[in-house]
């Protein structure tokens, strides 16, 4: 049994380079670059040299989903970009639904 320790969590403050993003998501770097070129992975700031690009937690979430979908469904780049785009739309719609539900008054019995 290991000692009990208290961990302070990494929380959206970290910025990652493209190789770090690829490493953390299990994507080959070349594929991460292709996803970046297709717009499926979005850097925090545009108009920077590729080596200077930094990525936040939203990109890490997308990249990890890409890593899972690629290995679990054996998807090629095109299918991966399509799936990620649709998942992003689903996430946006779910967020809108959550917001609308939160705003919906509950009936008073």
């Amino acid at each position: 049994m290991q000692l009990e320790v208290t961990e302070v969590l990494w929380f959206e403050q970290h910025e990652l380079s493209l190789p770090e993003l690829a490493d953390l998501s299990g994507l080959p770097l070349a594929l991460a670059e292709e996803l970046l070129d297709c717009g499926a992975l979005a850097p925090l700031q545009l108009r920077r040299a590729r080596t200077d690009l930094r990525f936040g937690s939203a990109a890490l979430r997308t990249a990890r989903a890409a890593g899972r979908l690629r290995s679990d469904f054996e998807l090629d780049v095109q299918a991966l970009v399509l799936a990620l785009g649709l998942l992003e739309r689903v996430a946006d719609l779910e967020a809108q639904l959550r917001e609308l539900r939160a705003q919906q008054p509950q009936p008073i019995l």
Partner: protein, 314 residues
């Protein structure tokens, strides 16, 4: 070690072809993959299906699995002594391992034996449900994970990892937190895996959260809505006094700035009190008389626009 029937997990016969196994996996992955499925228990089901497929899609691993014999699912069993020699290049303790650990670390075939590649540790994702109060103040959760790893003697074990994780204030529904290096141990110099916590907020009897904003129903009596009032409203940070202007309509959002959930870096969401006009279900004679007098004296017609709109429609 408990036996798992990988063929049953995929719903195929033991003699199924590689193609049949792939088809069965694709069908089940489409149904249960956690990125695309919202079915209850989908994630657990997918893990079972993926574990079975990882072994059965590889001819060598499948052969190794088949040589374990056929047992009832969940039955305790031991791999035969010659099986260990033939398929496993590391000693292991069958008592505290899961069958998946055995196959994940299997180096079947003499050609690959000894070729110990460095492998990163496995990443883990777990769902953590917290209350709105915990999201407001930050909280600590106890984590108890059981992960496969090699001990100093090179034997593969399932090792319990018990630790506390601090969830900082500002975590909200759908957010993910990362604990670097808290996943599975890396193998042969590979980096340790990470642990990801997927945060969900438990339903609350008063508040509904959207991002860092909170919504609260504010019931008002008809006369309070007409005349205006000041009411005490609960917020996660304590009770505040809210001024309700005269003529407040049902459905109106009264905003209490910075009374929602704190944001991770700085700032705070807002709390919105949504006005509901509530009528008493039981009234006394004197109240009824007052309502009657009001209905006779009032010139208010809440449906005046019906006539106008209906006129436009024709």
């Amino acid at each position: 070690m408990k036996y798992k029937d990988y063929y049953a997990s995929l719903g195929v016969e033991r003699g199924a072809s590689e193609e049949d196994i792939k088809k069965a996996y694709r069908r089940l992955a489409r149904k249960y993959h956690p990125d695309v499925s919202k079915e209850t228990g989908a994630e657990e089901k997918f893990k079972e299906v993926a574990e079975a497929y990882q072994t059965l899609k590889d001819p060598e691993k499948r052969a190794a699995y088949d040589q374990l014999g056929s047992h009832a699912a969940g039955q305790d069993f031991q791999p035969p002594p010659d099986w260990r020699q033939q398929y496993s290049d590391s000693p292991f303790s069958a008592e505290d391992l899961d069958l998946s650990d055995l196959f994940a670390h299997l180096h079947a075939g003499a050609g690959r034996r000894g070729a110990r590649r460095s492998m990163p540790g496995q990443d883990y994702e777990i769902a953590v449900a917290i209350t709105i109060e915990q999201a407001f103040q930050g909280t600590q959760i106890d984590l108890d994970l059981n992960m496969p790893e090699y001990d100093a003697g090179g034997r593969l074990h399932r090792t319990p990892h018990v630790f506390k994780a601090r969830i900082p204030k500002g975590a909200t529904d759908g957010q993910r937190l990362r604990l670097p290096g808290k996943g599975g141990k890396g193998f042969n110099g590979g980096r340790d895996g990470d642990l990801y916590l997927n945060i969900t907020l438990r339903p609350h009897s008063l508040y509904r959260a959207s991002g860092h904003d909170l919504y609260l129903d504010l019931p008002l009596a008809p006369w309070e809505a007409v005349l205006g009032t000041a009411v005490e409203v609960p917020t996660p940070g304590g009770v505040v006094r809210l001024k309700v202007p005269p003529g407040t309509q049902a459905g109106r959002h009264l905003r209490l700035p910075n009374r929602g959930l704190p944001k991770p870096r700085e700032g705070q969401g807002d709390l919105y009190a949504i006005v509901q006009i509530v009528v008493p279900s039981v009234i006394g004679d004197s109240e009824r008389d007052l309502y009657r007098k009001l209905s006779e004296d009032s010139g208010f017609d809440p449906r005046a626009h019906f006539a106008t709109e209906a006129g436009h429609a024709t």
